[in-house]
Subunit: 323 residues, 2 copies
């Protein structure tokens, strides 16, 4: 059995707890949290403080880090990798090389293994970009996100004065995807690829027109997109827009000779973004435990890890059943 600790218990941590129940070769030791453990309602797991964690060094094979990329993981992953094998879903794309270097140094010095930036993007989408580009070097890769809830854009809406609550959906332009699949060569702007749909609850007496204008012109978040804004009640938002679906597409179109078109398409349709990300973390926690057993210490990303390490099934069975 691979013994796992969950570090941080929000939506992602709860997703890991659920995913572990589906993996019979893995066992949850406990949830470690910065909150008072008695205030954390898990789905069965024991909750401990972060200070308790050190005492579990010999009882945990892998820590799955479920904090955020902005402030938690850049500190936590290197810190915990001193004592534990770790897996995280660090997703600030531009800072991955720096994060990798920090964690790799700690892992090599302390003979641990860390797999960073798992999840689906970075993660499974990265894998698909790599496979596709390696196989069809004469081609173009396009990544589309959604339909799904963007937490960052929803937060941006909620920071606007007069907005009580909001949910933002990122919506891929499926017509563009179909045209690319059909072989059209397109130069795409940000506006071409995705639409943004906002469901906004106003505070009493808020000026809807002014807020709408503020949304659609907001730099970085909305100005470069076609943005739809719907004002709805809190009840409707709670009823219809509090789930966390997401997904997306990695599309690679290439030619192998003259006009011989070849298309590789990878799609995710996720009812729950955090639960799916958690499931990827758990599969890579298995790989992490194995790499640690093989004493190949250091930091890894999904690009470095042979697919078979993710599966509980023996190499012989995999060759027989899946090839």
């Amino acid at each position: 059995m691979i013994k796992v600790g969950i570090i941080g218990y929000g939506n992602l941590g709860r997703g890991v707890e659920r995913a572990l129940k589906q993996n019979k070769d893995m066992e949850l030791v406990g949830v470690f949290t910065r909150r008072a453990p008695e205030t954390v309602t898990t789905e069965g797991a024991s909750a401990y403080t972060m200070e308790d964690l050190t005492a579990y060094q010999d009882k945990i094979d892998v820590c799955i880090l479920c904090g955020g990329s902005a402030t938690d993981l850049p500190i936590q992953t290197p810190e915990l990798t001193h004592l534990f094998n770790t897996v995280d879903s660090f997703d600030t794309h531009a800072k991955i090389p720096e994060h990798f270097a920090n964690v790799d140094k700690v892992a090599k010095e302390n003979q641990t293994v860390s797999i960073i930036s798992t999840g689906w993007d970075p993660g499974l989408f990265s894998l698909n970009r790599l496979y596709a580009q390696s196989i069809l070097p004469n081609g173009e890769t396009y990544t589309f996100w959604g339909k799904g809830v963007s937490q960052g854009h929803s937060d941006a809406l909620r920071r606007i004065a007069g907005v009580a609550d909001a949910t933002q959906y990122t919506i891929p332009n499926t017509e563009i995807i179909e045209r690319l699949k059909a072989g059209e060569k397109l130069t795409l702007t940000t506006r071409d690829k995705h639409l943004r749909e906002c469901f906004v609850v106003l505070e009493e007496n808020a000026d809807a027109e002014k807020i709408k204008e503020e949304i659609v012109t907001m730099p970085n978040y909305f100005a470069d997109y076609d943005t739809e804004v719907h004002f709805i009640s809190q009840e409707e938002l709670n009823h219809d827009h509090k789930a966390m679906p997401h997904g997306g597409t990695v599309l690679h179109t290439g030619t192998t000779h003259e006009n011989t078109k070849q298309v590789i398409e990878y799609n995710l349709y996720l009812d729950s973004n955090p639960e799916f990300t958690a499931s990827v973390l758990v599969a890579y926690a298995r790989a992490c435990a194995r790499l640690a057993n093989e004493q190949t210490f250091g930091a890894y990303t999904v690009l470095d890890i042979a697919p078979k390490y993710l599966s509980p099934i023996s190499d012989e069975e995999l060759r027989k059943e899946l090839l």
Copy 2:
């Protein structure tokens, strides 16, 4: 530069020659054939006899084997792996464990590396089955093939008395795929998953009705499917049905908690099956050369190989650009 030899020069061998031109870190040494080399029209490569091959032991890093799975590869891959690192696309699913064991023994004894059963199924589809099942263990995987030409079924048609020529398309049931993606639980028969469409040229005075009956009732090939038969002229067949498109879908539907559905879908749309398979062989030839450099001798399948080995780009660049 990775120096490559092509063993066998049919559609697949020509595809490898074309793919190598798209990969600037690879260099084609020559084509080795059982035919008289002067009768082989390549797209620029020198052609040699199979007897010449031994003399090239120090001039070739990887041999890409482009023979058939029925009779060529079970003999050739073990034989050539005595002297060379090898890559093949052995695709008789049931015999992969035996082929792997044969090749692994030779590779370990002779300090070579062989990657067997690359291509797309087995190959990329196997990878997708493995990733999906490892991430969503509580789920079902479905593989659909087509729309594309099945060489085996086309051959079966051509063996019928009175048939001059024929092409058979395997067509996936897209309605079933959509229902599965929408979350329906279906128990599927062979007939539910694929249709078979046959374009047949009759010999003079052949009995069309009798031949149609013979086709749709042919055991193993057509009897278990809904099969459409179209009789057309040789001119029309040559004009419209001599390309080799193919493709397919690996669909995995799972739940992470109660009714929380998660769907992973991988699609290939290929104008040329042999050229795409060749492109996969070439990417794995790169991996093969690297594993040989690392002196990790033995046989491998796509499941054993870290994705980064397929790319000519450095690990640092991959982390920066693709994650």
